[in-house]
């Protein structure tokens, strides 16, 4: 991408913000207009994956550090919410903030232990953290342990006819905020530093990039967003148990969606999440929920082999070729 003069950058941000507000208004309208409850049930899942994929991409896409344990961060966010509901009947905003803090800290802690080393150590630690978190939750009676816990939805506020509709709008807001944050990081000096780290860490350090600090920052933000994606999950499902919260599906989706969409830009994870999230919903309804992960896996393999830079890279290559003619 070429640098643009400041006023153009401001213009681009203005149109982004206008777009974001428009999306929120549309979500609110939909919550009033659409009659079919399933639309919100499925839409919520797609939006949740936008947050999760965007979160993964901040560390995995921009800086090149792959997190295999997104499921653990997601579930840790969900179980933070459950614990707060059980203990204090905490309202949803409190659950969201607390979940972000817990999983942000998780990201920072894993980062502090492993990001001093370059390469694969962080990824290995994220696999381990998934196992550790699931074991803790399985043995934690207060949040239901292996049996799971039932969480009752509070009555919906007057504007909404059901609580799921409220959650749909809230998840839209979270998705917009997550994407805005990712876009800010990507287009700022932080994003350029993260890209330098991905390209060549030693060279980055040699031109003044504080690599460890930037990696820890990215790990913390990424972790916090994953937790916030999981926080409304118990209220959405009315029930939570470890097997579904720690499902492999989250870990695979969180990395498959950005890779298929394209990791270079904030739009990649959004495209990937909308595409794959919708395909998964369709497969679940028309075929079976077991086929979900299979479809995801096959698509991931196909893209890694045929279009390693994802849909965005493919589009750029095609338009580049057209322009060259």
């Amino acid at each position: 991408m070429v640098e643009r003069p400041a006023h153009l950058a401001v213009k681009r941000w203005t149109s982004f913000i206008v777009g974001a507000i428009a999306i929120l208004v549309v979500a609110l309208l939909l919550a009033r207009v659409v009659g079919n409850e399933y639309f919100f049930f499925a839409g919520y899942v797609v939006l949740q994956f936008i947050v999760l994929a965007t979160a993964w991409n901040i560390l995995g896409g921009y800086a090149g550090y792959v997190n295999f344990g997104s499921g653990a961060f997601f579930a840790a966010g969900a179980y933070t919410a459950v614990a707060l509901i059980k203990a204090f009947a905490a309202p949803l905003p409190v659950q969201l903030v607390a979940a972000a803090m817990v999983t942000g800290l998780m990201g920072f802690a894993i980062g502090a232990m492993t990001l001093r080393l370059r390469g694969i150590f962080f990824s290995i630690a994220t696999v381990a953290i998934a196992v550790i978190c699931e074991t803790i939750v399985l043995n934690w009676g207060f949040v239901g342990g292996a049996r799971g816990a039932t969480v009752l939805q509070p009555p919906a506020p007057a504007f909404f006819t059901s609580y799921t509709r409220l959650l749909f709008v809230i998840m839209t807001l979270l998705a917009v905020l997550a994407v805005a944050l990712a876009r800010y990081i990507e287009t700022s000096w932080i994003g350029r530093g993260l890209r330098a780290i991905r390209d060549d860490e030693e060279a980055a350090e040699s031109v003044g990039v504080p690599t460890l600090k930037l990696k820890l920052f990215a790990a913390t933000v990424s972790g916090a967003l994953m937790g916030i994606a999981g926080a409304p999950f118990p209220l959405y499902m009315n029930f939570i148990e470890p097997t579904s919260a720690f499902s492999l599906n989250y870990a695979v989706s969180a990395l498959a969606m950005p890779i298929i969409g394209g990791t270079a830009s904030w739009a990649g994870p959004v495209i990937g999440a909308i595409l794959l999230g919708s395909v998964q919903q369709i497969v679940t309804v028309t075929m079976s929920s077991e086929l979900n992960v299979l479809v995801l896996g096959l698509l991931l393999v196909a893209f890694v082999v045929a279009a390693p830079e994802g849909i965005l890279g493919l589009a750029r290559r095609l338009s580049g070729k057209a322009g060259a003619r």
Binding site: R4, A6, W189, R192, G193, A196, E205, V207, P210, L212
Partner: protein, 242 residues
């Protein structure tokens, strides 16, 4: 005053049982042009890595402009004013040339006043000085060897160094390209940048250096003015193979 800018004092670096640097001491004056020669494996690059912070020395101390930088992270040393080039060019390959230059501009030169447009214009002017103006928006993958070396040099210069350390920036270049590179480097020196240059090309070393240090097996074996060094019998034996 032209005092010592860099003071390397008895620096030792081991890799397992192999002693790569054995109590190396070296002083570089402010504004000096220092050439470093020595056979492959004599510890030249290890010394640079210790000075720049890519490696931590096991013993000894490194002082820069009166500050002890021995334990300082690499990026902090860059911000103090030590910049380097790598022996094999290491561009940020996902970025254009201008973006490559923008990284040190944002992280060192303009750390306190970040402004996208200024950085871009300044990156272009630095590239122009290296003769890379028309490639500013090209990806690094399209560059020739000599242009990659120039980019490496431009990126180091964008960090506004007071000490520039060049690790074989001329390796593999043709004789015309060596002259071109030498002209750029001597120009930087005239602007007041202190330069340490590792090089195998004797013609370049002789023309560039005010003083030459010859390393062998992790030690400083000889030092002196270039014409003096080439007459040194030990240098001739181990380095020139005479």
């Amino acid at each position: 005053m032209t005092g010592a800018l860099l003071e390397v004092d008895a620096v030792t670096k081991r890799f397992g049982g192999f002693v790569a640097l054995s109590e190396v001491s070296l002083t570089v004056r402010s504004g000096e042009r220092l050439g470093i020669i020595g056979p492959n494996g004599s510890g030249k690059t290890t010394l640079i890595n210790c000075i720049c912070g890519s490696l931590r020395s096991d013993r000894g101390s490194i002082g820069f402009d009166g500050i002890d930088v021995t334990r300082l992270a690499s990026y902090r040393r860059t911000r103090l004013g030590i910049a380097r080039s790598f022996q094999v060019p290491r561009p940020f390959s996902s970025m254009t040339l201008a973006e490559n230059i923008a990284v040190p501009l944002e992280y060192v030169a303009h750390r306190r006043s970040l402004h996208g447009a200024d950085v871009s214009a300044e990156a272009r002017s630095i590239l122009a000085r290296m003769g890379l103006a028309n490639r500013a928006d090209a990806p690094t993958g399209s560059l020739t060897q000599v242009d990659l070396r120039k980019l490496e040099l431009a990126r180091a210069m964008a960090a506004c160094p007071r000490l520039l350390i060049l690790d074989e920036v001329m390796a593999g270049l043709s004789s015309v390209e060596v002259d071109e590179m030498l002209k750029i480097i001597l120009g930087l020196s005239r602007q007041g940048v202190t330069i340490m240059m590792i090089e195998h090309i004797m013609r370049a070393i002789m023309r560039f250096s005010e003083r030459v240090v010859c390393m062998d097996a992790g030690r400083v074996m000889a030092e002196g003015p270039p014409d003096h060094i080439v007459q040194d019998s030990d240098v001739q034996r181990i380095y020139l193979g005479v």
